[in-house]
């Protein structure tokens, strides 16, 4: 059979198999496995059949626990079922996995192995999640590459049917799951050949059916449980042999032979590494290189990790082995060794004891590598082999880091490389938005699918969502590419954004005589003088071939906007000569037709035009012999940043975090706040400029600014002394601030240029109505002067919070934000709500943040936007997990309440000592507004003063708890994926608790952080991942559910529709002494909208009744009034007016117009019914009962 070669990543490769050999697929998004579920959902919506000609049922669940439960149920009733997951998601599946295995049920789960959150969350790859499953009874099969992932997926599904033992098939998150490689595609006939239908019939026969009923899932007692548990042993004993026979059959059918343990290297090797996962590919490459130089090294790749077959393991080792290093990609703190190491030690030990292999008695040492996708390179592999050469090799070592605390790490020679000359290696630095990654994926496809060459692509992304740098690592060569590590020596380096020249050391990776392509606004004749000196020096030293293209202009002139993908792709092929130029250009044209054809002829035409224009704008630059530039490479963080921020966080920001040793880090994952301000990212091409004369001082621009870069201060005119010449000020208009000055200042280097402030500004310049009170102006000419103005502005003291009326926005927005410069998407709809919380309550807030967008832009290293005020107070923030956030936050409340209560008790006990009057005033303080809080803080200062020298234990305890006497505001924050789905059970319980917590749901109506999967908040008719055909059901009414408790304050808000309503709801929620739930509509880039005008979408959404504004206040109910206040007016527009504004709805009309028509009609009905229902409820009069007359 001739099979096709395709380029794809492992997620697609695995889904390709899993989808075709299953009938029920339960899915839930979690990085990096989400793509497998997305493929399954998409194929099902397109009607793609499985190998039996039937379309599988794909069901999104509310959590991974739910997915595992659904799979368990589907299996028990006779279907072939599967799921995909990773990390915490896999942990949530563990209880069901024990059940599924205990019941000897055939299934395969596909897992992109990912780090489990410990001191920090990490989305990247290691084996800590799969190692958690060692006790579940699942067989565990590992694949090391994209091709293997596809192959092993099939072997897992085949073997599980043959053995009745469920399989966990895993491959490394990102390194394998997201690596694009050229692979041979398994055909449906291959799949049919490996799936034994007799076993499928047996599986069906075991199903629960009322036609042949059985009881399964009993409760058992001490008398028999143990014996019954042992009945499964024969199945596990037989499993390895059966898996090997499946592998043999696979080899017969497909041609690739696998073994339970695959050995490669010298047949007489003395030093052997045992490992599994993608790192084994790098090790394999190293073994070949080392042995070519006369060394005798070997590598044993573990494929079937569970059940671990000692016999097969020992048989696979060369008899000559003297030293073994077992590499684990996980850490079990406190264990005698990491898990694979312990298995190997045991195997060697048992081998001797059981006389399986007396002669094999090597030294076994263990080492740890690659946690959280830490690079694992041939240089590191060599260091491991070198360590084995030592007379006393370092045991329990680490490789890939510098551990100067525990001294576990091995040194390695970073220059050691095994990259063959026949492989072309290229690095591309681009911005997320410029299309660099897309172009590179396309190039891989062109080379991989149109030529006999092999291609590999791996893409490294930023920790920011806006202005993110992407680095593409590409390899092309005549043989399959197994280099599972980043390109460190490149023949070709392209810099697609000029600004990166100052930020990243790109050229150190360039080989001598290599090529550098720069996207430059300066032409070939003038570019040299604009380069930083280091870049000039490197170009000269490496005798580089240097090219420039002004892709910005070509893109603009051909109508491509900011997307330069096609242009830079043409440049790459034109210069690199990996293909004959004409052939490459034709292939690009063909791929443009393929890629963009479905998006319309006009898009194709523009791309074609860009191809034509590119070559005319690509120029060679003659590299001079001497460096002339005086432009330095700036330090990542400024010199006035604190040392830790500068030396540690700044190094991470500068892309050199790999170089930091263990000793510089905190031991428990605790980091300072207020650090985002050091990153001056200069992302905006244009920034807002304030017009003092037009401004009406309404505060709206500051309120909506997603990045807190528009600030307002009201201050005494004397503070203007020494102001820079261009510093703008005017008289404060508010009558309570008469005589004071007023300034709106923009942080020029932190602004992302989203323009949402301009859109919201209600003040028009009367002479020129296109202008408002705040207008976009080019950033570069303003950068320096505005930077001075910003610095001056910062040193002006904040207005005393007691002089700010928080009930109206024009005053409230003078409050200092304690959330600034987040790396959220430019124009984010969530962050203005967080900033509002930080302004109103930040100096006494503790925040529990569910995993999601807000935990990423809130807490992804290197920096955090959560910050402190001049007194050092600010929000204390923590992220526990995704699913437990409500409970986590309730824990805060319980803890704070307990400590406050104890402090009160201690106060009473110590009243005589510290002063009755002080104690009484502290205990009776109302603490309702900022003045009250201020006074209470003053009292606590006096209390601490009185306590500080008292020796008694009680006094010391009270001193430690004194700050708890100032009211704390507990905020539980997360997205709709958390609140509506995975965390709903906990949320419900916390609301039921009656405790004083404030729950803020940033409702984007999709799982934004994982790429826009449908949640139960997704409205009907919206297209989302996992709802590729348009969501057929309505949005869950979380607010209504919460109201049913009666004692929960509930508000539904949309800042863009009615900002005063939002402010009121936040104030009421916090003031209410009980649970509060604010459901805050948050526009999102996942909606496919114009982010600049997103607030108009919100307004239309409310005007059409698609979103309601309301407040349910239990205190009104207690006062005998109707607690529900519907704050939206009767809809004045049709729902379709809103749907038309957003691609998430509109795309369905372009792809499936008939379905769209039905769903849009239903969406209108949903809105009509909802409004009428709320209107009915809110308009009920709660009449007071009049006493009956006698």
């Amino acid at each position: 059979m001739t099979r096709k070669f395709k380029t794809m990543d492992a997620n697609e490769a695995v889904a390709h198999v899993a989808y075709r050999v299953n009938e029920v697929i339960a899915i839930y998004p979690i990085t990096p496995s989400s793509t497998m579920g997305e493929w399954a959902d998409q194929w099902a919506s397109e009607g793609v059949p499985n190998i039996w000609g039937s379309v599988p049922h794909v069901m999104e669940m509310q959590s991974e626990g739910g997915a595992a439960g659904a799979v368990h149920g589907a299996l028990q009733t006779g279907s072939l079922a599967t799921t995909f997951t990773a990390s915490q998601g896999l942990l949530l599946m563990v209880p069901n996995m024990n059940k599924i295995a205990g019941e000897l049920t055939a299934t395969a789960f596909h897992v992109t192995a990912r780090t489990i959150a410990t001191h920090a969350l990490s989305i990247f790859g290691d084996h800590s999640d799969v190692m958690f499953c060692r006790t579940t009874g699942f067989a565990m099969l590992c694949s090391n590459s994209v091709q293997e992932a596809m192959d092993m997926a099939l072997i897992a599904h085949s073997a599980t049917l043959e053995t009745r033992i469920p399989f966990l098939h895993f491959f490394d998150g990102f390194r394998t799951s997201h690596e694009v490689n050229k692979i041979e595609l398994l055909e449906d006939d291959d799949l049919r050949a490996l799936i034994n239908m007799e076993r499928v019939f047996e599986h069906r026969q075991r199903a629960l059916s009322p036609d042949h009923p059985v009881l399964r899932g009993t409760a058992q007692n001490p008398d028999v449980f143990f014996q019954i548990r042992e009945t499964a042993n024969p199945f596990y004993d037989a499993c390895p042999g059966i898996v090997q026979s499946v592998m043999d059959k696979f080899a017969q059918v497909v041609g690739r032979q696998y073994h339970l343990f695959d050995y490669s290297g010298a047949p007489d090797a003395e030093r052997v590494i045992v490992m599994m996962g993608s790192g084994a590919e790098a090790a394999d490459e190293t073994v070949e290189a080392l042995n070519a130089k006369g060394e005798k090294t070997g590598l044993l790749k573990v494929r079937l990790f569970r059940p671990f077959s000692v016999e097969h393991f020992l048989a696979a080792l060369p008899a000559t082995v003297k030293q073994i290093a077992v590499l684990d990609r996980t850490k079990e703190a406190g264990a005698a060794g990491d898990p694979l190491y312990l298995d190997v030690v045991n195997a060697i030990h048992e081998g001797g004891q059981r006389h399986i292999s007396q002669e094999i008695r090597p030294l076994v040492i263990g080492g740890r590598y690659g946690l959280s996708s830490k690079e694992f390179t041939p240089a590191m592999v060599k260091a491991v082999y070198d360590n084995l050469k030592e007379t006393a090799p370092k045991e329990h070592f680490t490789i890939g880091i510098r551990d100067n605390v525990g001294h576990t790490s091995l040194d390695y020679d970073q220059e050691f490389s095994t990259e063959p000359a026949s492989v072309v290696r290229a690095l591309f630095y681009g911005l997320g938005a410029d299309g660099t990654v897309g172009a590179n994926k396309n190039s891989i496809k062109i080379i991989g699918e149109n030529t006999s060459n092999y291609a590999q692509g791996f893409f490294v992304y930023d920790s920011k969502k806006s202005g993110a740098v992407t680095v593409s690592h590409l390899r092309f060569g005549p043989k399959p590419i197994h280099s599972t590590y980043l390109v460190s020596k490149a023949n070709f380096i392209a810099c697609h954004q000029w600004i990166f020249l100052e930020r990243y050391d790109m050229l150190s990776a360039l080989v001598e005589g290599g090529t550098f392509l720069l996207n430059s606004p300066f032409g070939a004749d003038e570019v040299w003088d604009h380069l930083p000196r280091t870049v000039q020096e490197q170009l000269i030293a490496k005798r580089a071939k240097f090219y420039v293209i002004d892709a910005y202009s070509v893109a603009r002139d051909t109508g491509m906007g900011s997307r330069m993908n096609t242009i830079l792709q043409v440049c790459f092929f034109a210069i690199s000569k990996v293909l004959p130029r004409e052939e490459a250009i034709e292939a690009i044209r063909e791929s443009i037709r393929d890629t963009y054809g479905k998006k319309g002829e006009d898009i194709v035409r523009k791309n074609m035009q860009a191809v034509d224009e590119t070559l005319a704008h690509l120029f060679t630059v003659t590299v001079p012999t001497t460096a002339t530039s005086s432009i330095p490479m700036p330090e990542p963080f400024p010199s006035n940043a604190p040392r830790f921020e500068r030396e540690v966080l700044g190094t991470i920001y500068g892309n050199r975090g790999d170089e930091l040793p263990v000793s510089v880090f905190p031991v428990d994952g605790t980091f300072p706040t207020g650090t985002a301000k050091w990153e001056k990212r200069n992302l905006a091409l244009e920034i807002p400029e304030w017009d003092t004369k037009t401004c009406i001082q309404c505060g709206k621009c500051a309120m909506v600014c997603p990045h807190s870069v528009i600030r307002i201060k009201v201050y005494d005119s004397r503070l203007l002394e020494g102001a820079p010449a261009t510093f703008k000020t005017t008289d404060a208009r508010d009558k309570e601030w008469l005589g004071l000055k007023y300034t709106i200042q923009v942080a020029p280097e932190d602004c992302t240029g989203c323009g949402i402030c301009i859109d919201v500004c209600p003040a028009k310049n009367k002479g020129e109505t296109r202008l408002k009170a705040i207008n976009m102006a080019p950033q570069p000419p303003l950068r320096l002067s505005e930077k001075d103005n910003w610095d001056f502005f910062l040193q002006i003291p904040e207005l005393d919070r007691r002089n700010i009326k928080v009930g109206n926005i024009r005053q409230q927005q003078v409050q200092e934000p304690l959330f600034e410069f987040s790396g959220a998407c430019s124009g984010c709809g969530e962050t203005p709500y967080l900033k509002l919380v930080s302004q109103l309550f930040g100096d006494r807030a503790v925040i529990a943040n569910a995993t999601g967008c807000s935990s990423i832009y809130g807490g992804n290293l290197p920096t955090t936007p959560w910050t402190k005020n001049a007194e050092g107070r600010g929000p204390a923030w923590s992220n526990s997990l995704f699913e437990d956030n409500a409970e986590f936050g309730l824990g805060f409340r319980l803890s704070i309440d307990k400590q406050t209560e104890f402090a009160h008790e201690l106060l009473n006990r110590l009243a005589a000592t510290v002063g009755e009057e002080l104690v009484a005033s502290i205990l009776s303080a109302p603490q309702k507004d900022d003045s009250d809080i201020y006074e209470q803080r003053e009292r606590v200062v006096r209390l601490k003063e009185a306590l500080k020298d008292l020796p008694s234990l009680e006094a010391r305890q009270l001193l430690a708890l004194a700050d708890m006497l100032v009211k704390k505001s507990v905020w539980i924050i997360g997205g709709d994926g958390w609140a509506y789905d995975i965390g709903y059970g906990g949320l419900d319980h916390v609301m039921a608790s009656g405790r004083n917590v404030n729950i803020l749901v940033l409702d984007t109506e999709v799982y934004s952080n994982t790429g826009g999967q449908s949640s139960k908040s997704t409205p009907r008719a919206a297209v989302a991942k996992f709802a590729a055909g348009g969501k057929p059901g309505p949005k869950k009414d979380l607010g209504m559910m919460a109201m049913s408790y009666g004692n929960v304050y509930v508000a539904s808000v949309a800042m863009g529709a009615k900002d005063e309503h939002t402010l009121k709801a936040f104030l009421e929620a916090e003031a209410y002494d009980g649970p509060s739930l604010i459901i805050a509509y948050s526009h999102c880039i996942a909606h496919g909208i114009n982010m600049t005008t997103a607030l108009q979408d919100q307004k239309t959404m409310v005007d059409s009744g698609q979103w309601l504004l309301y407040r349910y206040h239990p205190e009104r109910g207690m006062a005998g009034e109707n607690p529900l206040s519907l704050d939206s007016r009767k809809p004045t527009r049709k729902v379709q007016d809103f749907l038309q504004m957003e691609t998430r709805f509109k795309m369905l009309t372009k792809a499936k117009p008939e379905a769209a028509k039905i769903l849009w009609k239903q969406a209108q009905q949903d809105a009509d019914v909802r409004y009428r229902f709320y209107e009915y409820m809110a308009s009920r009069q709660f009449e007071e009962k009049t006493p009956e007359k006698h």
Binding site: T31, P32, E38, D41, Q42, I123, F174, H178, L431, G432, A433, G435, T436, V437, G438, F459, Y461, D462, S463, K464, K465, S466, A468, T470, G561, R563, Y596, G597, K598, K599, G600, E601, D602, I603, K764, T769, C825, I856, S1008, N1009, T1010, G1011, G1012, V1023, A1024, K1025, A1027, A1028, I1085, A1086, G1088, I1089, M1091, T1143, R1144, K1146, M1147, K1150, A1151, P1153
Partner: protein
């Protein structure tokens, strides 16, 4: 027996009452109802090439915005497609309309490129449209563009479309030409089978609270009748293309007037949107009543009877109207009729 039949674009129609392009023809049910109410033909809403391109660009932008930036969310919307971003929806609409009704279906097209005009015209013909109306909705604002260039573009479009299709082609155009009569003649020469007079261009309003321009589509008033009435009256007999009146047709008397100046068909839009589709029945009955009361036998008998060529006082047809409009002001000017003569050497 009254004969209401008329010829438009070489097609015999039962009456001269044709609903022009409007939302009423956006669904098949609406088209059926128009036929039931007596529409002699239906002009479909326009296919705008520019809109198709904008939709495609917007979709491409939205699907790629923010992608490939952050490792967890490399895309935000599912891969879908192929998207129906071309004219397929419109072409299907023509096909379905043809299946649903017996009356002629006149498609309407607004192109932005020569390729767009001709390609879409061909596809519209293939989809089964009985005729094509080229809706040249072009508001020229470029001060560098001369009127001669603008006029030539109109002519080029008509020639190109005529070369591309065999079905009859009408041109819907605006009155804003230095010499409308000359323009009509040139389009006639270029092969236009009909002229639809006139397009009403979008004219924004100002929202004084927001200081913003507001889109404000005004339905036509009966006064709008005067413009097509004037020009159809002038053009009747001077061009071979058939003439459609498209503004201000509200009641039976409007229809009578337009027929009398020479309209082959009268197109109704605003009045149907305002009064409902069944208003067509009222207009037809009114036309019949008027003709009966005034002893007219056929529409043909009326057509052109009050045109400039056939009316008792052709000079008054032009000047009298103008002079009434500027009563009390004395102008010495060349009348339209004189200009026509000068231009055509007659």
């Amino acid at each position: 027996m009254l004969d209401l039949t008329t010829q438009y674009l070489g097609i015999t129609l039962r009456t001269p009452l044709v609903p022009s392009a409007s939302p009423l023809s956006q669904d098949i049910d609406g088209i059926r109802r128009l036929e039931d109410a007596g529409a002699a033909a239906v002009v479909l809403y326009s296919l705008f090439e520019e809109q198709l391109n904008l939709d495609a660009q917007e979709l491409d932008h939205s699907l790629s915005a923010g992608t490939e930036s952050y490792a967890e969310s490399l895309t935000f919307l599912p891969e879908m497609g192929p998207f129906r971003l071309g004219p397929e929806g419109y072409l299907n609409h023509i096909r379905k309309a043809k299946e649903a009704v017996k009356v002629p279906i006149i498609a309407s097209l607004n192109g932005t490129t020569v390729g767009g005009w001709t390609d879409y015209a061909k596809q519209i013909q293939q989809a089964g449209a009985d005729a094509l109306e080229c809706n040249i909705y072009w508001i020229v604002t470029d001060p560098e563009l001369s009127s001669a260039d603008v006029e030539q573009r109109y002519v080029d479009i008509v020639k190109a479309v005529k070369a591309a299709v065999t079905i009859p082609v009408a041109v819907k155009l605006s009155p804003y030409f230095s010499n409308m009569a000359n323009m009509a003649r040139r389009l006639d020469d270029a092969g236009a089978d009909g002229l639809a007079l006139f397009n009403r261009f979008y004219q924004p309003d100002i929202d004084l609270d927001e200081l913003e321009l507001k889109p404000n589509v005004l339905l036509s008033t009966p006064q709008a009748l005067r413009l097509p009435l004037t020009w159809i009256g002038i053009l009747f007999g001077r061009v071979t293309a058939s003439l459609a009146a498209t503004s201000g047709v509200h009641g039976p008397e409007d229809v009578v007037k337009l027929l009398m100046v020479g309209a082959n068909v009268t197109m109704l839009c605003s009045t149907l949107l305002r009064n409902g589709i069944n208003h067509l029945r009222y207009v037809e009955q009114g036309l019949r009543d008027w003709m009966g009361a005034h002893e007219y036998e056929s529409v043909k008998q009326m057509q052109g009877s009050m045109s400039q060529l056939r009316c008792p006082d052709p000079g008054a047809f032009e000047r009298a109207q103008y002079m009434k409009g500027v009563k009390g002001i004395q102008h010495v000017m060349v009348t339209g009729r004189e200009a026509w003569r000068l231009l055509n050497g007659g």
